[in-house]
Symmetry: C2
């Protein structure tokens, strides 16, 4: 084996707070397979001797020639994004306690009401509902780093050109094996209030779009077919909401990185309650 | 270029309903780099001629030697799981409309009340709260394919050996750049009712566990420090709930693959309302 008997430099690793090592090669522009092979061997031996546990190697797309070497030495894929793949190896005996990858995709359905109390519905060019003649609420997937409420507003604008404001989350549904066979999906039903009226549909995704009476939407034959009970429940929640008999979770506190959704009555009384709590203990 | 002038077989691809091709090599045990290289060239040319759009190649860990070839031909990583990497290429002009990878990790915090109205709190051996002397609710991450309510029950049992039943979701918080620098996290605050009393803490993760008065939990100095407002809001929601002044989203309908959470009053009245809706339109 090459390198035996001479000093081989180790891979540059940073300790994490769980007793592991993170090797980030994103800034490395080139490394030969032989060089990586020798360094990885020496590094793994050193890390094992030091009692390190989880090893992480972040390989940029430009170093894809090194993936095979890491896999052959016992690494597995952890996750990947467009421009890199993250590989992991757990050095102690199993079980591994490495954290799992992102497990869910977040979808939104937008229940958009106009000032006449009508709701915004669309038919799509592709996907599950295509050619089923079903009117549905605008739906979409949250983008990387986008908040649920913002994603709902954006999708409505993109699909129909309607400007709308987020009101609240009415309900949410979790579905398993929904994405890539093993990822789950959480679909947040969001109420929005439209501030414009004229619809201009987006042609590539949307076949038709219009305003519709909520009762007509709820009573589409589709909702009464077996297997569609969840759709009917959600439609009924929208109906109740349009009749002022349902409230959901408003956006209580929002910042660029964090959003908290809870009951509106709590949002209104929150500070008062906090003061009461402090008092009750200091008495 | 090898293969020119002779017939090269294409990669086995299945059409998807969005005008794309999915090549699944999970059952292929071996393929040489040269063979893959020639087949991929020929396939890409054929697919482009046929007007195909998104190309997906699912490569098992055993074929990691082929990753580099696909990347060099313009593929990018889409996502990866332990045993495979998914590569994609978008053949038409940009923009690509390929669906995004899973974007969120789902966490739970369990507000567990016993029959005395006390709540279950823990201190952890590692992580953000370590050595901060803060009592926190049991928390954890949802596993692949696990439902939110089930994950909350499991985490409480694992960390403290307390058996508990899911009551409802009290609130949820979304945090960006929370996982792997670009993934988001949704933290569901779940209320549980304990059916056992004796705590046996799990030693590797948990430093201490006990029952505590809700007021004492809420009034910990940690909650009043700047930057911890979200924690305080969540603590106050728990306090309100313990005083019967807050309701959240119950599990309205649950099946192995789907769970719908909504307001309890709606859950109770759902069938009645559905009937009313049908009647109102047929009148």
């Amino acid at each position: 084996m090459e390198g035996e008997g001479q000093q081989i430099s180790l891979l540059d690793g940073v300790e994490d707070r769980f007793g592991g090592i993170v090797v980030n090669l994103m800034e490395v522009e080139s490394m030969t397979v032989d060089d990586f092979d020798a360094k990885l061997d020496a590094s793994l031996k050193a890390w094992k001797d030091q009692g390190k546990k989880g090893i992480w190697i972040k390989l940029p797309r430009e170093l894809s020639s090194l993936v095979d070497t890491a896999i052959k030495k016992g690494f597995t894929y952890h996750h990947a994004e467009n421009e890199y793949v993250m590989l992991t190896s757990w050095l102690p005996q199993p079980p591994s306690t490495l954290p799992c990858n992102a497990s869910h995709r977040i979808g939104i359905g937008a229940f958009v009401l106009n000032k006449n109390g009508e709701m915004l519905v669309v038919q799509e060019n592709s996907g599950y509902f295509r050619e089923k003649n079903v009117w549905k609420v605008p739906t979409g997937t949250i983008k990387e780093g986008e908040s649920i409420w913002a994603g709902a507003v954006r999708e409505v604008k993109e699909e129909t050109d309607i400007d709308a404001e987020f009101v609240e989350v009415l309900a949410f549904m979790e579905s398993h094996q929904a994405v890539w066979q093993r990822k789950s999906d959480i679909f947040f039903v969001c109420e929005l209030e439209a501030s414009t009226f004229e619809i201009k549909k987006q042609d590539s995704e949307i076949y038709a779009a219009k305003w519709m009476l909520v009762e007509e939407y709820v009573n589409q034959p589709f909702h009464n077919k077996e297997g569609n009970e969840m759709f009917k429940l959600i439609a009924n929640i929208c109906l109740k909401k349009s009749r002022d008999k349902y409230t959901g979770f408003v956006l209580t506190k929002d910042s660029p990185k964090k959003s908290l959704y809870c009951r509106v009555d709590h949002a209104n009384l929150l500070n008062e309650t906090a003061d009461q709590a402090s008092t009750s203990l200091s008495d």
